[in-house]
Symmetry: C2
Subunit: 409 residues, 2 copies
């Protein structure tokens, strides 16, 4: 173990979290959409809290809040996003942001800023109100002007207008220098039921899954469901149902331990009881941390689509509409989080992240790691999302322990 | 064969059909919704044509047009409906109405009205713009005042208002006396592809299928499609897909030669790519002329629903939302149509009707039979519906031949 020793303050941590939840409060959760008034006010407050912690804090021209430790690097960057989905939870993203502030503050209080500089960050629009991971990508120059100029929210409002209205537009732009950092650490709620089910309190993320999404379209021919004999039908629905069943079975046969898949939408057209469906559309999503498994599931999907098209004599088109590659977390950093958990007697487990996070962006520029705390009932992206105070505090202690280990490594 | 001899006039038959198609003309088809202005005008013209044919014609208080032969019974009633669906075909219903007028006219012209009285009829709202088979049921007192008072069209307009606006409301109500009739004959386009595929020109309807419709609801639990492991899901979509596949296979195993079934709608909720479906709803329809086959398919549906509920641990509810019993046509009358077809050298076949018709109502009160002519391409309920002039004329000749046989029987 290192000679570095500092303690986070659980009461202060929880008080800051509770205060952040007042911005956009909605029942037990929050609606704090990127660039909305509550989001802008929350970011101003976060900048103040970073300043009070002893960081040199600023909001950049898209709303990222960055607090820099009063020391040269190599530093550790800690944070997440402070924006939410509509009717989201109070911890999603927000917890990781406050962990960053609390750990930076504790380090400075302990007089360790020089030996262990910790920068805190609150990224903008991870939740894709306008553009997914807008804030973290902007910090590395990875968002094009053209991307910003066409981005709109679900109501059709332009991102450019939202940036202007927020008052952020006049702030100096910011880029992060990977040379300053030895690590990025992001803590987040699990957003799933695994830690709770295993009675484990800390998840050490091995990788963020890759996502491939497909729209599968089946052609048929409409007809009267009473007068067209079964043998003369070209029923897009029956073919889509058969193909969907085969996909679910086929994926199960090829899956690794952490592979997940979903048929979230299946639509028959025209959708009337007495009309043979003339078209069907299936939306299929597959996720895994291993590109080889994603490849084998995609191959199976395409083979089954061809097979069912041949058998039915109907056209089937499978179009990949989304392809996000898996993002590996740094094993060395993960090992330090594990060691810190072990030192605190916290039950922990290695696991993939099934959801996307800013660390997916950061890991392209610096060694990155993620820590999960349990989500009660597995709930996420709903106002009933919650994590026990004990788990919130333990998660921050483990992350602080990892910081001490990394800084003295 | 009988001593009765009369000839229909093909040119007059086709001219009347073309004229009827001008009311509500839409491209090659018609939009002549019950009680709409084109429907009302068409009915006034039909009444005139019946008068000109030598019938005592009247429009009743819901819009049925009835032309009575100038003779006591036993008479033969011939007709169908003159209303259409939106963007419907020019022959659907209309052809059977004009057959009735042409045959009644030919009989009177031949001086055979006394020996072979033929009444013509154009029923109201078979297509269920407001109430299914409103007209034919009204003629036997089988529509309740309460049913009329709550009926509305798809736009929310009340049937009672439509009747008042049509001007029919003031007409004397009409009831048909089954004692007057030895038979009801309805000619109709097939609305399916069977006659064309068999290169057969006349269908002799054995029965109108019974229809049972079910709404099957599957319960699940929403969740993040990335973070919830497969083994911990309650995926309503996956269960619905499996059940739907099993239903399609199970029905095929139990089906008779004419059984048809359809899954016309399958809905996943909320229907997002990255959300595990929390609910699914399947709309299933089964049709056959044999109640025992309908029973066995319904039993299989319920058994499979129980089985899939047990295996998944998720609730499945199957509710029957429609149950129309099969309606048998009179075999003796069917035999006369067959004999008439044979005498004219017309290829014919016995077949069920997969769609509903006014004969479904009439057969409860008098011996009834139906004759089908081929639908080009099997099209129906679309403006491209059509039948060759040769087939239209042949159908009327066969029906006239059957009338002569029945009247002299």
């Amino acid at each position: 173990m290192s000679g570095l020793a500092f303690e986070i303050d659980p009461a202060r941590l929880l008080a800051d979290l509770r205060h952040l939840a007042t911005f956009g409060k909605q029942g037990t959760g929050v609606t704090r959409l990127a660039f909305s008034r509550p989001d802008v006010e929350a970011r101003r407050w976060l900048r103040e809290r970073m300043e009070q912690a002893g960081l040199a804090a600023a909001i950049d021209d898209v709303g990222n809040v960055i607090g820099e430790a009063p020391a040269d690097g190599p530093a550790i960057l800690i944070g997440s996003h402070s924006d939410s989905v509509p009717g989201g939870g109070w911890l999603d993203g927000a917890m990781g942001v406050i962990y960053g502030i609390e750990i930076a503050r504790a380090v400075i209080e302990a007089g360790l800023a020089e030996r262990c500089p910790v920068d805190a960050v609150a990224f903008q629009d991870e939740e894709s109100t306008y553009l997914p991971t807008l804030g973290s990508r902007t910090l590395f120059g990875a968002v094009g002007e053209d991307e910003i100029s066409v981005a709109r929210n679900i109501d059709g409002h332009r991102l450019a207008d939202a940036i202007a209205a927020s008052g952020f537009a006049g702030n100096p732009p910011r880029r992060l220098d990977p040379g300053r950092y030895r690590a990025f650490l992001e803590a987040h709620i699990e957003q799933g039921p695994r830690l709770e089910a295993m009675e484990t309190r800390i998840g050490v993320v091995t990788a963020i899954v890759g996502i491939r999404r497909f729209r599968v379209h089946v052609d048929g021919q409409a007809g009267h469901a009473g007068t067209v004999p079964m043998a003369m039908r070209k029923d897009a629905g029956a073919v889509a149902i058969g193909l969907s069943g085969a996909l679910l079975e086929g994926f199960a046969a090829l899956a690794g331990p952490d592979t997940v898949w979903n048929i979230g939408s299946l639509t028959l057209t025209p959708g009337a009881a007495n009309v043979i469906p003339e078209a069907a559309e299936i939306v299929v999503e597959i996720r895994d941390t291993d590109p080889a498994i994603l490849d084998s599931l995609e191959d199976r999907l395409r083979a089954l689509a061809r097979d069912h098209a041949d058998r039915s004599g109907q056209e089937i088109a499978a179009i990949r509409t989304l392809d996000i590659p898996p993002a590996a977390m740094d094993p060395g950093l993960g090992g330090e989080i594990e060691a810190a958990a072990r030192a605190l007697g916290a039950p922990h487990v290695r696991m993939p992240s099934g959801a996307g996070h800013d660390a997916m962006v950061l890991c392209r520029y610096m060694p990155s790691a993620m820590l999960f705390v349990p989500s009660i009932g597995g709930h996420s992206h709903t106002v009933i999302e919650d994590t026990s105070e004990e788990d919130i505090v333990l998660g921050c202690r483990v992350l602080a322990g990892a910081v001490a280990r990394i800084a003295s490594g």
